[in-house]
Amino acid sequence: MVREIAIEMRGITKRFPRVVANDNVDFGVYKGEIHALVGENGAGKSTLMKILYGLYQKDSGQIFIRGREMDISSPSVAISQGIGMVHQHFMLIPPLTVAENVVLGQEPRKGKIFNDTKKAIQDVERLSKKYGLKVDAQAKVQDLSVGLEQRVEIIKVLYRGAEILILDEPTAVLTPQEVEELFNIMRSLKEEGKTIIFITHKLKEVMEISDWVTVMRDGKVAGIVETKKTTKEELAKMMVGREVLLRVEKNPPQIRGVVLEVKDLEAVNDRGLSALRGVSFKIRAGEILGIAGVEGNGQTELIEALTGLRRLIRGKVTLWGKDITNASARKILESRIAHIPEDRHKRGLILDYSVENNLILGSHYRPPMTKGPRLNFKKISENALELIKRFDIRPADKEIQVNSLSGGNQQKTIVARELSRHPQLLIASQPTRGVDIGAIEFIHRKILEERDKGEAVLLVSAELSEVMSLSDRILVMYEGKIVGEVEPKKTSESDLGLMMAGAKSSDQVIRQSGDREFPDTPIS
């Protein structure tokens, strides 16, 4: 049987001021298949898809849609050709309803001027039913969960008559259950004959859902393979260009005394709503305590409270028995608590500063980085050279501005700075968000090294596999509370996912007995 080709891109090249994002890329997709497009951050997958969707213009190359060459000069051309894109960052307008978000730009009308709200709602409900999306057309988008928001995006695309759907990293923000539901939706779309391009860097998902895979590396195509004829390891190798250790190798923990103890923490978020509702736990030297949870369940506020960036309303924080509740950020830093913040641009780096200067932030006010009232430039430079070497920050140039580094190297800069303070407690929040596999591997190794040196590590991550593979114990946070504690080896990702969604407590998942040293650890 000759299969119909939905899309063919030939020799696509796209240059940006500093990089060649796409270098002579060939890409093709058959009608009715789920085609995974994988590669590390910066490999050029999103750029390629933005060209296909008309958000970027190619410098050279050709695009054929159903065999006809097209010049896609804007998203509206792409939409008229039946191409729809669900962006990684949702393009939704929170105060508007689902129906309004869906029809925006192509509103059904009563007469020439007025919106036909009724028809809009009916259209959304029809699409929602057809593909099992279960979305309330009249709800305001701001009241929806992330998983539902994504479905609104999918409905938006379908409403515009899309036959070819581009999903840009759709699973990055979902819980395991939501991912499963998304995959079901993708399967039902495929059954209806839709073509799906699925951008991701999670190889497990590629193996589960896709029919074909195109791997990109450094702006070029590194391989095109049929999913059932390949393995995760082979794909990882294509992505990185060398063998990658997908599993984290770690020694059994050498646990010593309690480093940090927090009791009944309560705090409010930026909107003044209760974010922490009585959080208690202990971290011991030599262990990694992971905190799993869907984002927005109090993890951010917890980290901020522990690092002196948010006031606690109630509760007590002690470090080696010493009270540090609501201590200033500087005092906490001087108590040798290091912090890898969740948003490196907001809190981790001063983007316009050089690598060298970023590497001394937090130590900049005291010897050895100062000499009397002046900065000690010799010392600062030595410090930079040493850390750049030890943490393999590329390019190895201490003068370069941090904002011209890749995400992975920016993150390595933060890790280098924080670990150079010889912490006794490392608080790492989303330490590998948006960095490439190579850097993930490196950062994971560094975190494990700290643990093996006998430091305590608090790890918060939305990446379940990261929490599972690094942690010695995992606490699950849900709506500002710790709803359970599990041991990674004895728990499946799906059980953890259910706890994260508030559906199960750890009592139902497993009753972790063994040598429980912490009878006072709350299980909500």
Partner: protein
């Protein structure tokens, strides 16, 4: 004294004072719903007021003045639009510049045409419409016999419908909330923003026409901070035409109260009585500010 405060005179006075506030506040609503902050309302009112008198002076027809005021407001707004949409300049600075520009240009032309630095010659005003039956009912009579009040009434209702019931309104609001999202759906963000700002200029200009034609002359700086009070009304009205109208009426009432109290000879120093509208504005804004959520992309230039 209380008689004079709670009288029909007071109601008509409140309405008359509120008209420029209502028009400019609804104008501001259009602009900010599209994502462009319009501090320049003040200047647009002033230019509108001046254009109204100028055109009426030359033509002898106050209706020509009204049209000129709207055009003057739109042209002033066009400067703001080009600077802040096309050149993505800071919208606050652009707005302030427009206010200063309006003070200067009106004074300059005032001197050139009327050879006075304080006020213009007197011009004719708009006619009063005598409508049978209705003209026997107080208040209602004022509304229906004064063309601009009637027009304002229509504008209030029409604005509500345009912003909340039409595709144009939906698109305009989407540009003020999340222009990137609107763009990906093929909404022409810049076009919508131009529309919002120009409409705001037209309405503010109309408010200016009311001011000068009501007094049959232009006096230097006659906008007197009304653009800023209108901005406060827009915020207090949560960026909706009906809310802005309500807030404008409240501010209008405070000003009417101030006038009535002064003429009733209350034994409070006039300076304090004159503070009433402004104090009220401050109190209302501080109590409303927590709840009033502006359009998310208000004031942010859109870059792809």
């Amino acid at each position: 004294m209380w008689q004079s405060v709670f009288s029909l005179v007071m109601v008509t006075l409140t309405i008359k004072i509120s008209i420029p506030y209502i028009l400019a506040a609804i104008g501001g609503t259009f602009s900010e719903r599209g994502g462009v902050i319009n501090i320049g309302l003040e200047g647009m009112i002033l230019n509108g007021a001046f254009c109204a008198v100028l055109a009426t002076w030359y033509t002898g027809n106050a209706w020509a003045g009204v049209v000129a005021a709207v055009i003057g407001g739109v042209l002033t707004a066009l400067i703001h639009a080009v600077v802040s949409i096309r050149y993505k300049a800071d919208q606050i600075i652009s707005g302030v510049a427009i206010n200063l520009f309006a003070i200067g240009i009106t004074k300059f032309i005032l001197k050139m045409v009327f050879h006075s630095s304080s006020n213009s010659e007197r011009v004719v005003g708009l006619p009063f419409w005598k409508i049978p039956v209705i003209n026997k009912v107080p208040v209602i009579d004022t509304i229906f016999s004064t063309p601009l009040i009637l027009l304002t009434l229509i504008i209030i209702v029409a604005s509500h419908i345009i912003i909340f019931k039409t595709s144009f309104g939906l698109r305009l609001r989407s540009c003020g909330e999340h222009p990137q999202a609107a763009d990906t759906l093929g909404v022409k963000v810049n076009l919508m923003r131009y529309a919002g700002v120009l409409i705001s200029g037209g309405l503010a200009g109309l408010g200016g026409a009311w001011l000068s034609l009501d007094q049959h002359q232009f006096t230097d700086g006659m906008s007197g901070g009304r653009g800023f009070i209108a901005l406060a009304a827009m915020i207090f009205g949560k960026w909706t035409p009906l809310g802005a109208t309500g807030a404008a009426l409240l501010f209008g009432f405070a000003e009417a109260l101030q006038i009535q109290l002064q003429s009733a000879g209350v034994k409070i120093p006039t300076q304090f009585i004159q503070m009433i509208p402004y104090l009220l504005t401050i109190i209302v804004l501080t109590s409303a500010i927590g709840r009033a959520v502006p359009p998310a992309a208000d004031g942010k230039p859109y870059e792809k």
